[in-house]
Point group: C2
Chain length 171, copies 2
């Protein structure tokens, strides 16, 4: 079965959440999944849940967890670049039917990784490997390369009412 490239972008809630759903669905079919997270660090509720799938879903984080505004620091860039090296190996190995690159769009946007490097990984992947890329501000070249793109458009959001990220719902 051929693998495609899916992109989930836009400002609305649901991008990482959909990626978790995709990981779960793939695991339900017995596929191995590599779930890479850029920028993020720390254990959220989804990580606790995904532990039940440690035989099928591997989660790896390449970030420091702090919000990046303006200029990323050296450590942020190093973590992301290290991530990309590991992801290249993982994709090339063909062992994982589904490789999720959570927040990779944002990592490109902030200059932590090069869009050309990401495109190179995508284009040279084994034919059966499906790639999912999430994050706001997807690069036009990533959108061009993708087979499926969904924009999560924010119509209404309760953070504007002052609701903070809640355990088990947002994190």
């Amino acid at each position: 079965m051929k693998g495609y490239v899916q992109v989930y972008t836009g400002d609305g809630k649901g991008k990482t959440t959909a990626a978790i759903g995709l990981a779960i669905r793939a695991a339900g079919a017995g596929f191995k999944v590599f779930f890479a997270q850029f920028l993020k660090s720390g254990e959220y509720s989804e990580h606790k849940a995904l532990e039940r799938f440690s035989d099928l879903i591997e989660v790896r984080q390449y970030g420091r967890g702090c919000f990046i505004k303006g200029t990323p620091e050296k450590e942020d860039i190093e973590a992301a670049k290290r991530g990309l090296l590991e992801i290249r190996e993982v994709v090339n190995s063909g062992k994982y039917r589904l490789v999720i690159l959570d927040e990779a769009n944002i990592a490109v946007y902030y200059g932590l990784i090069e869009v050309d490097d990401l495109l190179d990984i995508i284009r040279n992947r084994p034919d059966h490997v499906e790639i999912v890329i999430t994050g706001r501000k997807a690069d036009p070249r990533i959108i061009e390369e993708a087979d499926l793109v969904t924009e999560m458009k924010e119509i209404k959001h309760y953070y504007k009412k002052g609701v903070l990220a809640r355990e088990g719902i947002e994190r």
Copy 2:
């Protein structure tokens, strides 16, 4: 912790997938989840995966699995109405922190259930119960009532290239 109403609508891929992600994240925090599916019937990959959470996530289907075009049949309406009765009880019981009503928007759109009945359940829910409603063509009154609305906008979709629903990826 207060529960809100989240709606995922639009034509793009990712609505049910995000709902699965929300269920998993909530389960990771130890919350009980009721995952109701209108219209759908049959075991997909996600159901096989969710079996690993049978202590926390309960999945129930109120449909016949066939695509409804034009006029729904009596059996479709009966299944959906039976579902709504059960959901009302489940919500009122307050036992589930998260209640997902997958494809409820479409059930309203095709006249299988009344939007007033759905609104009544939402408005009279215990304060801590979070409701998630998915499906294309969300009714304006549901959007009005919701605290968070994301439109999954289709930018590009591989079904236009002739790719059919694939096990472990779409189903």
